[in-house]
Symmetry: C2
């Protein structure tokens, strides 16, 4: 079934509006690959040869400097990454590794640029995608610069609860040390911060979190759509 993944890719906002002809051209040299966990898919500084699409599994975007690294974002299906680098034909600014067994579609960057040049609808879809990505990073930066680590954690938990459709308890989607890195703190500090949230009704049991008094936690977290609303 070499083209079974076409449908999945086609379903993304990024590709759903373009003509069948251009989509085929884009997919001509594209292919899918299965990766085991902990494989570094791309490394920052490398030329952007492929636009990547996570079809299943989980991928971590991270950055390195001077011997240490930090997690920048975690991607779940179905989403693309490294779009900006592909478009600008510039080196990757972030590295990516699989967190679990993952299926990744690879679309040659030069094909993306070629179709982009001739297909206005595709260009408009890319604009929508990039504008959303840009705003996500701006929100992340506000989170980082305006809030303390405890506040970041509190807001993160509230967002996770929203994701779980408001359920009182839910599971953290990955290891705590990765979460710590994502939130810009050390694992030790995350551990202490979780404890510090106990008076606000946050119970922790391994990866299981329950929020017994959301209003109380919100009093500390002071969430705002301008930072915490994913869609905005």
């Amino acid at each position: 079934m070499p083209d079974s993944f076409f449908e999945e890719v086609r379903g993304l906002h990024l590709f759903s509006e373009m003509s069948e002809e251009n989509f085929s051209a884009l997919m001509r040299a594209a292919y899918v690959q299965n990766f085991p966990p902990q494989i570094e898919l791309i490394s920052e500084g490398d030329p952007s040869d492929f636009l990547h699409v996570v079809l299943s599994g989980k991928v971590d975007l991270f950055a390195r400097w001077n011997g240490h690294e930090t997690s920048m974002a975690t991607l779940r299906p179905v989403s693309t990454f490294i779009l900006a680098a592909t478009i600008r034909d510039a080196p990757y600014l972030m590295s990516a590794r699989t967190l679990e067994k993952s299926r990744i579609a690879l679309i040659p960057s030069q094909d993306v640029r070629a179709i982009f040049d001739i297909d206005g609808d595709f260009a408009r879809a890319i604009v929508a995608e990039l504008a959303l990505a840009y705003r996500s990073v701006v929100k992340a930066q506000k989170d980082l610069k305006l809030r303390s680590s405890l506040e970041r954690l509190a807001n993160y938990l509230l967002r996770q609860q929203d994701r779980a459709h408001g359920a009182e308890d839910f599971t953290l989607p990955y290891e705590k040390r990765r979460l710590a890195s994502l939130l810009g703190m050390t694992p030790e500090n995350l551990s202490r911060a979780l404890k510090a949230l106990k008076p606000y009704g946050v119970l922790v049991d391994g990866n299981r979190i329950s929020i017994t008094d959301r209003a109380d936690l919100e009093g500390l977290a002071k969430p705002t759509p301008l930072i915490d609303d994913f869609l905005l």
Copy 2:
């Protein structure tokens, strides 16, 4: 001369490739306004009514949360801002204020979106602009998460020196407290950090900086194109 500013706007990458007809349509309801210093042009959360273009002066983008604020970026002529919000028809994520007397062109957001919908070249120009903006924020976030405040300052000074074409001494482009906010630290801390850089050959006299031994400072700063290169 009501249309003298058309030329300046047209000179931007964003508008230089589009047809004369579409450009005129875009400019039909656009206008220029002069603002004194310290005027808040837009406030985060407001609907994005206009795409802004800084023609002269200087504009600070900043964000507020829970009673305090932080500087996100400083814009100099000629550049646009709040493009992503305009395109997505979403509220501003950042506020903006003039730092000095400034001339700002205002283009109605709905016109931008209308032309965007019909003009593929314009859409492509927007992609290029957004991809660049996205990558800038990613670099800023890496700077913030991977480096200490002293390292951020050291790298900032090196970048400023590059901007001054490598001159041994140059002037800081704005007040130190704004710089502190931009670098994610307090003014007091910036003051101390500048002193801490003295052993690395950084001399400070008011707004005047001179770097007597760039190699030494680079040893501390460890600059990398993947964070510090503006164009990448």
